[in-house]
């Protein structure tokens, strides 16, 4: 059977600091059936969403409602732990395309990862030193313990660290 693709998708998320207090994040989707974008701005340091807009340029579903007024329900929500549950609670059942809810989450994860990038840039380059540095980080942020394979028992990073209760 020829290996021609029957579906292709590309999704791009980007984050830009507009000024000291404003961060913008966007997510663009392009696939065989759909083309859409979601853009948010958030206020630093609280990371509460101050503006959001969405656009569907191409979709097989012609009944999709105008996304921006629905997405605006999340204005004021803070980007951080628990946001997925809040987004789902505020937006599911409104008729908003689920893909756009996911793209909103992607925008927010982008914001978080843009700050994580700053943390990762401080990791030591030497492997052993990096393990020690990360072990100290786990002790400080114990919720990291067992958060993923790198911080689970069996990893050098958590060796000798007492699991949280």
């Amino acid at each position: 059977m020829p290996r021609v693709t029957c579906f292709s998708r590309s999704r791009c998320t980007g984050v830009e600091q507009l000024d000291d207090q404003t961060i913008r994040s966007f997510c663009r989707l392009q696939d065989t059936f759909m083309e859409a974008m979601v853009e948010i701005t958030a206020r630093v340091p609280d990371l509460d969403i101050t503006a959001v807009r969405g656009e569907i340029q191409r979709s097989p579903n012609t009944e999709t409602p105008e996304p921006t007024p629905l997405l605006e329900k999340v204005i004021g929500v803070r980007i951080g732990a628990g946001m997925q549950k809040i987004f789902e609670g505020l937006l599911e059942g409104t008729g908003l395309c689920k893909q756009l809810i996911f793209m909103l989450e992607e925008c927010c994860h982008g914001v978080i990862l843009s700050f994580t990038k700053g943390t990762v840039e401080r990791f030591p380059h030497d492997e052993e030193e990096a393990v020690e540095y990360l072990a100290r980080d786990v002790k400080k942020h114990i919720r990291l313990y067992n958060r993923c394979a790198a911080f689970a028992p069996g990893s050098r990073i958590v060796e000798g660290i007492k699991p949280p209760r």
Partner: protein, 376 residues
């Protein structure tokens, strides 16, 4: 200039009549990873998975590859996201989990297109022969609680001069899907370590009063009813509101309801933060945080919670102090051995929810690190 960028590309090819091959790549400023997933048609079951790293952040990220095999056998159906988040995200890596969900979603889109194409092909010579595949409905995980021996006692009278220490934030397996703690086990453990009472604060669920009264009598222990309600501004501990709230409620709407009922609201773990960076990195100061809308609509702040870091608790303590708001302590227990890690000491007698609400309103509670100060 962009501070951060992530690109994901997924492609789906039908390599056999009954097999989709999905190839996905995630590449951002921090990570580079790829995944190849084999998915059967029309069952939409993951049959094979290969994956690899191109770039990673920690020296131990390599350990994520092996546990990815837990995805094999999963079906693309409602509930998949939760399954992937529970297993792949936790045991392997959340970025691989994200890419896997993307691959699965791409496969689903492709399969829908394929079934339309197949139907059209079939229709041309002889008519329709649809396969009508539908996802199974997800089964809710219902936890059963082990029964403890009946004691049928009235709650023990507490020494009022010493006050009472209550864990104000406890989740049971009956009321919170995320908890593994049976209510009887929690009460027995709370009694064993010397707490004066616990408050059941399940997620968006208030225990029926008669059921809680039964528990009080059965264990001879003070059990109170509360609720942890998710609002657009985060989780709020509510005492004195006798109804379930479904879904997400706006903070102001909840405030109106609670005030009408004469209850109180406590901002739960208000600075539960990110995993690898903190408030300082964001430039968040207690003064700045005090301006949050959240604090205009609550009666107190949870300043000791066992699910957040010491820094996050300290930060909450500074904000509460700055605002002149009472602070409370609660374990946020999701397992029996966590009950009482933190609690709140009240100087007077608390016999029921009314007493609790009044004591919180008067700002009488003092947060305490309870379990760690005892030999347990």
């Amino acid at each position: 200039m962009l501070n951060y960028m992530r690109n994901k590309v997924m492609s789906v090819a039908r390599v056999r009549e009954d097999l989709l091959s999905v190839y996905g790549v995630l590449d951002d400023d921090l990570y580079g990873l790829w995944m190849k997933v084999g998915i059967d048609l029309p069952g939409m079951e993951i049959l094979s998975l290969e994956a690899g790293w191109n770039r990673w952040t920690t020296p131990e990220c390599r350990l994520a590859i092996e546990p990815l095999q837990e995805a094999v056998g999963m079906r693309i159906e409602p509930g998949l996201r939760q399954k992937v988040q529970k297993s792949i995200s936790r045991k392997a890596c959340r970025h691989f989990a994200n890419l896997l969900l993307e691959c699965c979603h791409a496969a689903k889109e492709a399969s829908q297109w394929i079934s339309t194409q197949d139907l059209e092909k079939d229709r041309a010579p002889e008519g329709v022969s649809g396969d009508g595949k539908k996802a199974d409905s997800p089964s809710p995980s219902g936890g059963h609680e082990k029964g403890a021996p009946q004691k049928d006692e009235k709650p023990r009278e507490r020494d009022s001069s010493a006050g009472i220490i209550i864990d104000l934030h406890v989740h049971t397996s009956k009321g919170s899907p995320c908890s593994s703690a049976p209510v009887d086990g929690l009460i027995e453990e709370a009694g064993r370590i010397g707490l004066g009472g616990i408050c059941l604060t399940d997620h968006n669920h208030v225990w029926p009063p008669d059921r809680v009264e039964d528990l009080r009598r059965k264990h001879g222990f003070l059990v109170l009813r509360g609720n942890e309600i998710t609002t657009d501004q985060g989780d709020i501990l509510v005492f004195g509101l006798d109804r379930d709230i479904y879904g997400i409620i706006k903070l102001e709407e909840l405030r109106e309801e609670v005030l009408a009922e004469g209850g109180v609201m406590i901002a739960a773990h208000p600075f539960r933060g990110f995993l690898v960076f903190d408030a300082a990195q964001l430039g968040l100061t207690p003064e700045k945080a005090m301006e949050r809308r959240l604090f205009k609509h609550v009666d107190g702040v949870e300043v000791l919670n066992s699910k957040v870091t010491k820094d996050e608790n300290d930060f909450a303590g500074k904000v509460a102090a700055g605002l002149g708001m009472p602070g409370t302590g609660g374990s946020d227990a999701h397992s029996v051995e966590e009950v009482g890690i933190y609690a709140t000491r009240f100087p007077g007698i608390i016999r029921d929810e009314k007493d609790l609400v009044q004591a919180v309103k008067r700002g009488e509670g003092v947060p305490v690190a309870f379990r760690r100060n005892r030999i347990t």
